[in-house]
Symmetry: C2
Subunit: 789 residues, 2 copies
């Protein structure tokens, strides 16, 4: 018999609820309007409303929706994944228009792009109207993000109209409204994380400003000193330019030195003149590069943390509030207290999490209704959202499909031996060695025929590994949701197989070695090697943290995207066509000077930087990326600002926004994520569940078992059973286990931290109070002083 497990995740699919909402109130019958509902219907509507509250609490949405059944149905529709995905699609479509508009990577006629833009704007408007119907009116109009979207839509339409009209008369105008496009990405409710990051930046600004002013003061002082010390020495730079003559140029050079981009160059003339002058630059670097830059990080991190705490607290309050609302809808009197009866509770859980298995639901019930009294009190009810969020893996002792289809073969001695071999630690080690040998083969020259044959051998070995594992373990367990590396392996190997076959076919038929496919094959081959990291326990821990923070890192991807979009669009308006790139053997005039005679003999042209230009959206992005990495940005700048000296301002602004603020927030985020991981302990709710699992005799000890090990362990537990006879609860064929910590998010951890602070007796602040919470008010005013302590 094999052992398998199935995941029971508390994921409620809202459209299911909406369908039920339709069904529950009687098929074709419309939903009762407020005031006209009958008893039974009313109870049903209450249940559905409560379900909406609970599922909202579970997913931490903080939209205060109207409580009429119609609004709830609209709200379900609003949260439907198709609607959400569509919104994202149109946001990115709108942003990607920049690729097709002039200056374009792939030019499209103006008419096409403007039609697409109008379509996008219509979708955004529709989405906004939909949202307005769902939320309370006063909340809707108070929310700045809705106002922002409306203004952005209006601005875009106006600009588009003006541009269209001018184009009819053949006047070229600036499409200035393109920089408002990222507003849609920021302000749609789906991208809460990006908005949070932006709010965090906004809140950090005052503090950052003071440090920045102090930093600028220090910069100006050092520049003044440099002017007095070096200005009259008639020194020359390596390029023969006058050195430190003009105050503003000194300020700029020293600003660049802060980023270390022109590190020894800017010092060399003075240093050559007298060694003592090096002290000036050392002092400058210590004060500005090290101390002030660390100070920026300290301020950003401190504010980020403070603000994050506030946000998380808001979410925790909101969740608590919603659970109480749901409780109030379902409560019945029982003795001196209000409770929710078991039957209602079960209906609710079925509505909220229809995918949950019966046994899982029973587990949750036993945890909530500790003493099996037949009802759930307020305190246990409020925990429901968290209980649903805990991923409980149901370990089903299920035999391997092959064991069912051909039991004789699967249970034969040879098969058993094979399976025990695969389970052996040596199997993993063998493949680790194979991977290492493969790495050497990859590094060797491709042309030797033996080596290209070896590639097939390795592919075969990897495929054999996957097949053996699937043969040994239950396929559904092997491809479980949490089995990151199994998925990774399989995908990489089969992609490599496909690409290699395709490449070989192309090579043999058309004699043409497709470069793109070959490149992909190369990349896939190397990616295969990454798997070895998973074999070392310590590496795995670090990798898990990294995998954990990927979703939030995507937020920063969004943030960066917004900043890049804005700067790329401005950059294209300012610097379009200043620099041209010519392929290596072009004989166009000024090919070596990037098509601009002014760049003759510049560092820019000498470094062959011609492709770093603002001629289209893609190039602009790459230039901005290079500026983010900071190095050589003064040279790139020289290229950018061939004509306008003031273009320096553009680059300095980008540096301040991107490097000083966003990169620091990114670093803060990674720091915080790691500190949370380091101080990772099981939250109270989770421990309660675990305890209950133990009590109910269905549990497996959760020690740090991972992947294969876990499966091994399950196997051995099974073998024990065979000896002891099937008297234990495991005989039910079901074992629960809390899913690995690997997939917990930083957000969830932080939230639990704050939930402990909320008193249960209290109703908590109202929705509006929660929305207006500021970091200054430690706890909302109507909380008891005890909880404030």
């Amino acid at each position: 018999r094999g052992c398998s497990r199935r995941q029971l995740e508390g994921r409620a699919d809202l459209p299911n609820l909406a369908r039920l909402l339709e069904g529950a109130t009687g098929g074709s019958r419309r939903l009762p309007r407020p005031g006209e509902a009958a008893g039974g219907d009313n109870r049903m509507v209450d249940l559905l409303l409560a379900a909406a509250f609970v599922s909202d609490a579970q997913y931490n949405r903080n939209i205060p929706f109207k409580t009429s059944p119609e609004a709830v149905r609209l709200y379900y529709l609003y949260n439907h994944w198709i609607m959400r995905t569509a919104t994202y699609f149109f946001i990115f479509l709108n942003l990607s228009l920049a690729v097709f508009e002039e200056p374009a990577v792939y030019p499209l006629p103006f008419l096409v792009t403007s039609l697409v833009e109008v379509l996008c704007l219509l979708v955004f408007f529709g989405r906004l109207v939909h949202f307005a119907k769902v939320t309370l009116r006063n909340v809707f109009w108070k929310d700045t993000k809705n106002i922002c979207i409306m203004v952005a839509i209006l601005l875009s339409l106006t600009d588009l109209t003006i541009c269209g009209v001018l184009r009819i008369y053949n006047v070229r105008s600036i499409r200035w409204s393109r920089i408002v496009r990222p507003i849609f990405l920021i302000n749609f409710a789906e991208s809460r994380q990006i908005r949070r990051a932006f709010r965090s930046i906004r809140n950090t600004l005052p503090e950052i400003t003071y440090v920045f002013l102090l930093f600028m003061f220090s910069l100006l002082m050092f520049s003044l000193m440099a002017l007095k010390l070096f200005g009259e020495r008639n020194l020359q730079t390596a390029e023969g330019m006058p050195y430190f003559k003009n105050y503003l140029e000194i300020v700029f050079d020293l600003y660049v030195l802060v980023t270390a981009a022109n590190s020894p160059d800017v010092m060399m003339p003075a240093f050559d003149f007298s060694s003592w002058y090096a002290l000036f630059f050392i002092a400058f670097v210590i004060v500005n590069t090290y101390i002030f830059m660390s100070l920026f990080l300290a301020v950003v991190y401190n504010n980020y943390k403070k603000h994050l705490k506030n946000e998380i607290r808001k979410l925790a309050y909101m969740k608590h509030r919603k659970m109480i609302e749901a409780f109030n809808l379902l409560k019945e009197e029982e003795g001196a207290q209000f409770v929710v009866r078991e039957a209602r509770w079960k209906q609710l859980v079925k509505l909220v999490a229809p995918d949950t298995s019966n046994s899982h639901r029973e587990l949750l019930l036993r945890i909530s209704d500790d003493e099996q009294k037949g009802f759930i009190d307020k305190k246990s009810f409020v925990q429901l959202a968290d209980l649903l969020n805990i991923q409980v893996i149901t370990l089903k002792i299920r035999s391997h499909p092959l064991g069912q289809w051909m039991p004789r073969v699967y249970k034969s001695a040879a098969s058993r031996f094979l399976r025990s071999m695969v389970r052996h630690r040596g199997f993993v080690w063998t493949y680790d060695i194979i991977i290492l040998i493969n790495a050497i083969f990859i590094a060797l020259d491709e042309e030797t025929p033996y080596i290209s044959y070896a590639e097939w051998v390795f592919l075969a070995l990897y495929i054999a590994e996957i097949l053996l594992k699937v043969y040994t373990y239950e396929p559904r367990a092997f491809f479980g949701k949490n089995q990151f590396w199994n998925w990774f392996d399989t995908l990489i190997i089969f992609a490599a197989l496909t690409a290699t076959i395709l490449n070989t076919t192309l090579k043999s038929t058309t004699k043409y070695n497709s470069q793109q496919i070959l490149d992909i094959v190369f990349i896939l081959r190397v990616l295969r090697l990454i798997r070895i990291v998973d074999s070392v326990q310590r590496f795995r821990v670090i990798m898990n943290t990294l995998i954990n923070i990927v979703p939030t890192m995507l937020t920063f991807g969004g943030l960066t995207l917004v900043v890049y979009c804005i700067f790329a669009i401005i950059g294209m308006e300012l610097f379009y066509g200043k620099i041209q790139f010519f392929p290596a053997n072009s004989n166009a005039p000024h090919a070596l000077e990037c098509g601009n005679p002014a760049l003759k003999d510049s560092l820019f042209a000498r470094g062959k930087y011609c492709k770093n230009n603002f001629n289209n959206f893609a190039s602009s992005f790459i230039v901005l990326m290079e500026l983010t990495v900071v190095n050589q940005w003064h040279d790139i700048l020289c290229g950018g600002s061939v004509t306008v000296q003031a273009a320096k301002l553009y680059f300095i602004a980008f540096h301040i926004v991107m490097v000083i603020i966003i990169v620091n927030i990114f670093v803060s985020f990674i720091l915080e994520a790691f500190f949370v991981e380091y101080s990772l302990e099981k939250s109270e709710v989770e421990t309660a569940i675990e305890q209950k699992i133990q009590e109910l005799g269905m549990g497996v000890q959760e020690d740090e078992l991972q992947d294969e090990q876990l499966l091994d362990n399950m196997e051995s537990a099974e073998h024990d059973l065979e000896g002891e006879g099937e008297t234990k609860p495991q005989s039910k064929g079901l074992v629960f286990k809390i899913a690995s910590k690997r997939y917990r998010t930083v957000d969830a951890l932080l939230q639990r931290m704050f939930e402990a602070e909320i008193p249960l007796e209290d109703e908590g602040p109202s929705f509006e109070e929660i929305l207006n919470l500021s970091p200054a008010t430690a706890v909302p005013s109507n909380l008891t002083s005890e909880s404030a302590a």
Copy 2:
């Protein structure tokens, strides 16, 4: 009447104690040996021992000294500031020998340097012997730092002898022992902070190593990918070299890309070939530069914090232990408990802090003996070390000396008006404006005669400001220990005055404009402008934090010095003479190629980096500084490693040690310092004192008054008094005030945090247990479980 204040700091000067130790036991009579002491003497010895314990606790020394009176006297001598300063002097003398030894900045004969080195080693040995006499034998031999010093002395002497003998036979040998010299800086007890930083690094190493291996793995994977993707394209770099052909070179190039030093250059050939290849570099930069570098910071910071906490906890235990030892020496039975009688307590405080005024001592007594019972119990006694550490400013209502010498003039209407004018906010504003105007004048050209005259006007104005302030405020208050800006101003102005006069004299007499003096004048002039920062409240807060962390930053200076010394000495052995620097108009052969034909047309020679060499200690330091700042280090490296390709290893090792570890620890330190400042609140002990001051009716509210404001406030308090008559305790002419938070150190704050955790009933762990505390053991084993919670 003027108002003044005098600082009464609880600074015990240990030599004073030693003198008293001599005197107390009866002038010429020698100290009683253990076992032979008589009653009265014994009590005196106990008192002196207790004083040693208390003053040790006060200054957080953790040397477990012997308790014999002789050992205590030696210990006093050991801690004498002259002995300590002398040790530091010889440590730095020993380190600075590198400047005079070959390859020397200022060459000295071998005989001289070796004699100086022998002298230094003798001093170190003497210091070590002294220390051995003071501490317990088993502690001494267990302490690795003592073993380290001994080994280092032996190694140095051996090397010196071998070198001397070889030199007689004219054989040049490597002075390899020079790299052990920094060991003395690390291991002498005085530099506890540097040792702590080193311990912190040592403890971080295992964790860092795992992240580093993972990082290297990622680097190797990306390099492999790069080899496969670009290796066979036959691309060329901007210098026409083959691009990404050799695996090891790719690894190195990508390692440099992690530091962003060769940012666009390394990408350009592939990017020119196809824009899509930019994605490879973007992925590389995100993974390695951003994520892994942040991860390094996270690991270093987390460990730094963990380790710091452990160290601080050790210190807190040690302090507690020492105070209990002192208590046990002095305790007498009183009812059911042991106490220290008031008279003995006063004797003790007089011994430990002889500079404390009677009124201050009375204040401390009233705080310790709350109910005026005539004795101090254990709990209050243990606090004494902290009480002595709190800087209580005695605000003495003392009239201005001028007011005493010529009361009529000083109290005249004109004088009063003048003084009230100086105290007015407008006075500060006026000078802020003057400073701004001065800044503009400095920026203007020096040659115009009006402007050089203006310089005199400004100097006169600044001197007038200082004189007016001294006239208005009491001079001793104006030059109080905490008046940083007053000292700063006065020193800068008078230095500028001296230098300007000197410069003018030299100019008019010898017609020779001394460049050095002029440079100093310029720097001083600009420094003067810094004072304006103190006028803005927010800037002042940031500046105060920065001033607060300067002492600990010096620790990092020490750390950097150690690393630089070691790498400079190795660097000089490896790269001496490879590169020569010639002045601009030299016509030596290969002057443009830094005297090395191999460098012809290299980026190194083109950038005129010739002065970046390892030809002497000073140059080496500057090269290492440039490498720390990271930029262009691959170019500097090209220069350094003209002959040996493996020299890359030297630079990579330096980068790992300096940039990845030390710079991150520095950043961690600044982050931590700021977070502590942000969460700064008064410690319990301090609040108790303040409360007592209030109760005793002698207090002034401590709101955030600073400097001039405080003095103003005192003035107004004084005016009130005149009206009310002199009935209040202020009539004593004394007011206490807790010194400004500005000068509290991060260390002290952290310590108080941990002191709260130590239970008072318990004796705490023994000295040896304390010394062996590890971060893993949260609390020592013999503490109650309650305190461990």
